[in-house]
Symmetry: C2
């Protein structure tokens, strides 16, 4: 049965990657930059997204695709309360988003009218790393209360990502978090990774993240119009 | 392909539950009580285990089975440094432990000499809920920095567990965590669930958890010797 399982998993990943590639082509053709945000449960994905929307409000049109394992709309409601379009995906217990889910979600959002799509993946440091969903950049948010050993334990999620946000740095005075040890672990997996230390509460470091993200969107638009 | 996938998943779960049932019979027959600790990455599973060993040192013999997705022995090393036997399971990227992994791990530990086996599951709030591993009690650790909306988003993990530890309560003064809202969410999923609010740092609430756990072990021994 183990072989059967492996074969099915491979087939699923192949089919997934094909749809992911089609999605990326579609979004690129429509001039929409897209990012996939991955993190542990409670690392602050939704808070970072809401603060990012607030900071970029009036500067670009943003849509959000929210992934949850349960039929809740807590996060999508918060995004819509800020006047931005949001689609909620209920994975029905599946522990990650896949490319087919994003393909279906895009049918419910006027993506051609947007500059940026932010996908909030399911809170999980393991399986989201294996499933491409068609976005242009992969982001991981790590929060300091999770501890400084995470890059040593959940290695795959840090590989192949484009940017890392180290969140909740306002809590550093109350934690035994060795920033050097954490960053050394990440450096082994993803040398030279662009990293921002941020706090949604105090907004520390947020301007640098917003500057980087805006630059990515601008460069993307320049590339596709070149 | 979707049907094929579902059938394979069902076959895997059936086979898993069968092995889990055998494991539980084996451990019961050997007089060893066992618990399965599930939580997000960084909720404090290892810290709770180490503090629990420290508090019960000299009172009972404890063995630990550590689940990780990567070949690291950070946690097992910490347990062994406290003089207790530990086995490390590398799931090879799989996002949860399963019963077959526990079955194999038990071959590397002298479980008959123990009173209590603590299994540290992979850090994940989703899939561990679906896979029985043969332990006598299921424990979830939630840490307050993860936020008070977790029971509303990761519903399955709170169902069918026997005890909940709300950890890192020393950080409450620095967080916007509504304890009432969190506990109301849990109450809907698991009415009357035994819950302890703890801090590994200040040891607040730890005596109550240790008292409950010791009582479970005693009652288990009385039951099997009756």
């Amino acid at each position: 049965m183990a072989t059967e399982k492996v074969q099915v998993v491979e087939k699923i990943l192949d089919a997934n990657d094909q749809v992911a590639s089609q999605t990326q082509t579609l979004l690129t053709g429509s001039g929409v930059f897209s990012i996939n945000i991955m993190a542990s449960p409670g690392a602050g994905k939704t808070s970072v997204i809401l603060k990012t929307i607030e900071k970029l409000s009036g500067k670009m049109r943003i849509g959000v695709i929210e992934g949850d394992t349960a039929p809740v709309t807590i996060d999508a409601d918060k995004v819509m309360a800020m006047g931005m379009p949001a689609v909620q995906i209920n994975t029905g217990g599946q522990c990650h988003l896949d490319a087919m889910m994003i393909d279906r979600a895009l049918k419910h959002i006027d993506y051609k009218a947007l500059d940026l799509i932010i996908v909030e993946n399911v809170g999980n440091l393991i399986c989201p790393a294996a499933f491409k969903i068609g976005t242009h950049a992969n982001v991981v948010i790590s929060s300091v209360p999770e501890g400084d050993d995470k890059p040593y334990k959940y290695t795959n999620i840090y590989r192949g990502i484009d940017v890392l946000l180290i969140n909740k740095i306002d809590l550093l005075p109350y934690l035994d978090f060795r920033m050097d040890y954490f960053q050394q672990g990440v450096e082994i997996l993803n040398p030279g990774l662009t990293t921002f230390k941020v706090s949604c509460k105090t907004e520390e470091g947020f301007d640098q993240w917003i500057h980087w993200l805006s630059q990515q969107v601008d460069e993307f638009k320049n590339r596709i119009h070149a």
